[in-house]
């Protein structure tokens, strides 16, 4: 069978190498080459999506297992179930859009090449993480990914970029290295041998209670930092504010999903007892994230910071869904991971369009744009509505599934989280009001309308959100079985409900 997953990982990496290998004179068309690679990647992923057997969405399909470093028990083991598939699709959709959105950012060809090559390299690692079936491989991708991202943040972006890059790196590394202790300890708990890191071989280990809890915490901390959960979220607003919009969109929309993805597919599956033990505390933090993110979003003056705080709030809802251990809530959380990617990615892109026009991300620098650029305003409004979970747009259904699903298990937490959903209306609509309504601000009278390129970035995402908003079953069919499997593992003792 065609090794889809290896190719999906290798192709962007090859693309990055090609870009760097091009002689300077031949770099005139680097953007087209980069888009070309991501387009081929998208087509490949689409073919894979069509060949994916939906009736067996809970099993790992397109599985490949090759021996990599048998001496330490790790294999090049790949495979996707429904959840992994949805994340891969999200990654391959958003990467070309991010490149397209930043089409005009660099005049310097060398700089442009570096940027695009790093984006492609991150894509390779993103895909790799979502399809790894080996804990060591997952870890390697998880950590190695920091390097292209670190350069993406530190080399391109605003004034504070170096500070933001180091903050991002240190936060991620602390989490990652503590997870490394867990990874090693996990291996010694497992069966060992040349395939001792395969997720399958590590599932259902009979731990002692303390060991399981400690290893769980080591993993969870890394994922909580990545997903940004309160109180380890502080790196995200700084990064979002200074990094390029394309980088931030990929980071928040796709990469941060590694946090929730890891919680779902590793924390819950490998350490079910410890997950149940920790769930009450985690849910409290999740609810704090929801409210705290929403409240701080309202107070933000910088649109990029604002959007990043909305994400912290939304990630709280996902974590709540995951740790409620209900079929519907976990389904909803996995669906939300996908929909939030579309919605936040789109939101960052349109904010980027606004910044490109004004040269500033401060809300107070805008005003009254509705009259000047109605299409841009409309696009912004629809995307904003998706972020506040308006029915008819796809985030709505996933948010409802999480809240309704979790109600049975943790009604109080859900009640508080629902307040966060209401607050979402405040921060989105208020931002819209200040940017687009009222008297047109000085110097904005001649603002350009949304260009064709920008429409090509934003509208496909809106289209997807509308389709999934009205026909969510398309996606849910892929997520139901994996969610069932996770629930059956994590609720063996009927605890938690």
């Amino acid at each position: 069978m065609f090794p889809f997953l290896t190719v999906l990982i290798a192709l962007p990496a090859v693309g990055a190498a090609v870009l760097w290998a091009l002689p300077t004179q031949a770099r005139g068309r680097v953007r087209e080459i980069a888009i070309g690679f991501t387009a081929v990647e998208l087509i490949l992923a689409a073919v894979m999506f069509l060949q994916f057997d939906r009736d067996a969405a809970g099993t790992f399909q397109f599985a490949e297992t090759h021996s990599w470093i048998p001496q330490i028990g790790t294999s090049w083991a790949l495979g996707v179930n429904g959840i992994g598939l949805s994340m891969v699709i999200l990654a391959v959709i958003l990467t070309p859009l991010a490149i397209l959105a930043g089409w005009r950012e660099d005049r310097d060809v060398k700089k442009r090449t570096n940027y695009l090559a790093l984006i492609l390299l991150s894509q390779a690692f993103m895909v790799g993480i979502f399809v790894a079936r080996d804990v060591f491989l997952f870890y390697v991708m998880f950590e190695a990914m920091l390097i292209p991202l670190y350069f993406l943040i530190g080399m391109f972006g605003g004034l504070q970029r170096r500070y933001a890059a180091v903050k991002f790196l240190i936060f991620s590394l602390v989490g990652g290295l503590i997870m490394l202790v867990g990874v090693i300890a996990l291996y010694f708990q497992g069966p060992g041998g040349p395939q001792g890191f395969l997720t399958d071989n590590l599932t259902g280990i009979d731990f002692s209670t303390t060991t399981e809890r400690l290893i769980f915490l080591a993993f969870f901390l890394a994922f909580a930092i990545k997903a940004p959960m309160f109180p380890v979220h502080t790196w995200l607003p700084d990064v979002a504010e200074t990094a390029r919009v394309g980088t931030t969109a990929l980071l928040v929309a796709v990469l941060d999903k590694i946090g929730t993805f890891g919680m779902l597919t590793l924390c819950l599956v490998l350490f079910p007892d410890a997950a149940r033990w920790a769930a009450p505390v985690i849910i409290v933090f999740a609810v704090i994230s929801v409210l705290y993110g929403a409240l701080l979003a309202i107070g933000q003056e910088n649109m990029l910071r604002l959007v990043s705080f909305t994400s912290i709030s939304h990630f709280g809802i996902m974590v709540l869904g995951i740790f409620a251990f209900q079929q519907t809530s976990i389904e909803g959380a996995s669906l939300y991971m996908f929909n939030h990617g579309l919605s936040t990615g789109a939101l960052f892109f349109v904010v980027g369009f606004l910044i490109a026009r004004r040269g500033s991300a401060n809300i107070s620098d805008f005003g009254g744009l509705q009259k000047v650029v109605p299409v841009l305003a409309g696009t912004f409004l629809i995307i904003g509505m998706s972020a506040l979970a308006l029915p008819g747009l796809s985030p709505f259904i996933s948010e409802i599934m999480v809240l309704v699903g979790a109600w049975g298990a943790v009604p109080v937490a859900v009640a508080f989280a629902t307040v966060g959903v209401v607050l979402a209306a405040v921060y989105i609509l208020w931002m819209y009001q200040r940017v687009f309504t009222g008297p047109t601000a000085k110097g904005l009278k001649k603002t350009r309308e949304l260009t064709l390129r920008e429409r090509l970035v934003a509208w496909p995402l809106i289209g997807l959100m509308l389709i999934l908003g009205f026909f969510p079953a398309i996606a849910i069919n892929y997520l139901r079985e994996p969610a069932q499997d996770i629930v059956s593992i994590v609720s063996v003792e009927e605890a938690g409900s």
Binding site: I69, A144, V166, L177, I178
Partner: protein
């Protein structure tokens, strides 16, 4: 008492004999060949040839090793796979070192003073430089050091270990002192290194004497047998053991026995620093490993506090002090102290996994270290007349190196990431193995401290990356720094880069070798 001539099996000693023989020959050549330029070429070829042939012989022995190995001279030397692996590692570092020693800037300068005996700044020095003198003694000296280190990894007798210790230390003291530039600093470094080295030798020797007093034995095996039989721990024995270990910790550069490291690293000619940083640590770790796992294994519980305390102190102090360094060689020196701590973490669990983990750690560390210092030799100041001057070791001078030389800056970034233990570089595999060994022995608290220290250490590694890639060359300083293009140093950079990537991505073959080597011929563990 009659004196019995020991029978010596020469065959297992061939690699060491080749290196030490070539060293002796090199000393003779110093006297015979008069022309400096010829002498330099001949010495370089001799060194490289000797090291390569010795490495070939060691590999051949590895391949044809009969059983577990050979005990030579009634147990004074043991040649088993563990010792052969270390010998090959040290030979590899020796080859890289010799290439750096022979490297010359485009102005035709080597890293060494033309006349070591001349007073710095004197007429003699100027004359020697004008006449094109060359200090080619460094090649035989380096061979002696390599030979001594190889012996150091294979010795299984406390008294003979002292001989090996001195054989490799004395040449290093001289090599540290012969820097071409900033000679007074170099002399000072050498003096400090020598005094503290002598101090540590004394520690070691006293410890060995105490062990002999407690057990009446001088061989590792002999002492081991007594240690196993003693039910209650003898204070004499325990003191002796601690002092022997302390002597070796000096060579490893672990806190609180580290104070020579920054000065010696900074003052020594950078090629010497590269060689010394990689090879000395490897030799010291190998000897420590053999002693601990042969002799003191049953004392594990009594000794583990020592390893824990020194490991934690080294990691914390190395990391914290490295954060505030402004000189790149000193920064790398403090990073090496932190790495000494990580090396000791592998001992922390007293697990036999350390036997396979440490060769991996030391190779991954050593290769990146040599590569990093090789980069340092090529980033130069530009003198007023526009020619290439001394090394630009102030961190600020590295700003914008990514634009000047993407290859050097990229290589340096790779080495730094490897030091930091980022996956897909060699350093990650090394750390993974060392931490696995510790966790296998139940020392996960120590590992937790180690990972936090390595997260903190990322700060100063990354600081240099920021300088090289994210910072522009300061205004007006565009011409102050020059990148040198000496082919030999470039070759070292490229080779070490390749090794760092290969060991990071497909390390299986080397892990196999290390696993094969994880048995000591004489030993309690494993």
């Amino acid at each position: 008492m009659t004196f019995v001539t020991p029978t010596i099996e020469w065959a297992p000693l061939i690699p060491m004999m080749i290196v030490l023989g070539a060293a002796a020959l090199g000393v003779l050549l110093e006297a015979i060949i008069r022309t400096p330029a010829t002498r330099r070429v001949v010495q370089f070829i001799l060194s490289i040839a000797a090291l390569l042939v010795a490495a070939g012989a060691a590999v051949l022995q590895w391949a044809t090793l009969d059983g577990a190995g050979t005990i030579v001279m009634n147990g004074m030397i043991t040649v088993d796979r563990q010792s052969l692996l270390w010998q090959i590692i040290i030979l590899l570092f020796g080859i890289f070192g010799a290439m750096l020693f022979a490297s010359r800037t485009s102005a035709g300068e080597s890293a060494f003073t033309p006349l070591g005996a001349s007073v710095p700044g004197s007429q003699d020095e100027t004359i020697a430089r004008r006449k094109g003198f060359e200090l080619t003694e460094v090649f035989p000296l380096a061979l002696f050091a390599v030979g001594g280190m190889m012996l150091f990894t294979s010795v299984t007798d406390f008294i003979f270990l002292f001989v090996a210790l001195e054989v490799f230390s004395l040449p290093l003291y001289i090599m540290v002192a012969v820097s071409r530039r900033r000679r007074l600093l170099s002399h000072e470094a050498s003096l400090k290194y020598f005094l503290l080295g002598a101090f540590s030798s004394a520690f070691y020797l006293f410890g060995a004497a105490l062990l002999y007093g407690a057990t009446g034995q001088s061989s590792y095996e002999g002492v081991a047998l007594v240690v196993q039989q003693t039910a209650s721990t003898d204070p004499l024995l325990l003191t002796g053991a601690v002092m022997v270990i302390v002597g070796l910790l000096f060579k490893l550069g672990a806190v609180p026995f580290h104070s020579w490291t920054p000065d010696a690293y900074q003052g020594a000619p950078t090629p010497v620093t590269a060689f010394m940083a990689a090879a000395t640590k490897a030799a010291a770790a190998a000897a420590l490993l053999r002693i601990v796992y042969t002799t003191f294994y049953t004392l594990g519980w009594e000794l583990s506090w020592l390893f824990w305390a020194v490991a934690i102190a080294s990691m914390v102090l190395g990391t914290v002090v490295a954060l505030v360094q402004t000189d790149i060689k000193r920064m790398l020196a403090y990073s090496s102290i932190a790495h000494a701590g990580f090396i000791l973490v592998a001992f922390g669990g007293f697990s036999s996994q350390a036997l396979s983990a440490l060769p991996v750690y030391l190779v991954t560390y050593g290769v990146a270290t040599i590569g990093a210092f090789a980069v340092v030799t090529q980033v130069r100041e530009r003198t007023e007349d526009g020619s290439i001057g001394g090394e630009a070791t102030r961190l600020g001078q590295w700003a914008g190196l990514g634009k000047r030389s993407p290859l050097l800056a990229g290589a340096m970034a790779l080495f730094l990431l490897s030091f930091a233990g980022i996956p897909l570089t060699a350093g990650f595999i090394g750390k993974f193995q060392a931490f696995s060994a510790a966790i296998d022995g139940g020392a996960w608290v120590l590992v937790l401290i180690a990972v936090l220290a390595s997260a903190a250490s990322v700060f100063f590694y990354v600081r240099l990356i920021i300088l090289m890639f994210f910072t522009d060359v300061p205004e007006g300083a565009e011409e102050a720094v020059e990148v040198d293009h000496s082919p030999l140093a470039r070759a070292v950079v490229v080779l070490t880069m390749i090794l760092v990537l290969v060991l990071g991505i497909v390390p299986g073959w080397f892990l196999d070798a290390a696993n094969n080597a994880a048995v000591l011929l004489i030993g309690v563990a494993g």
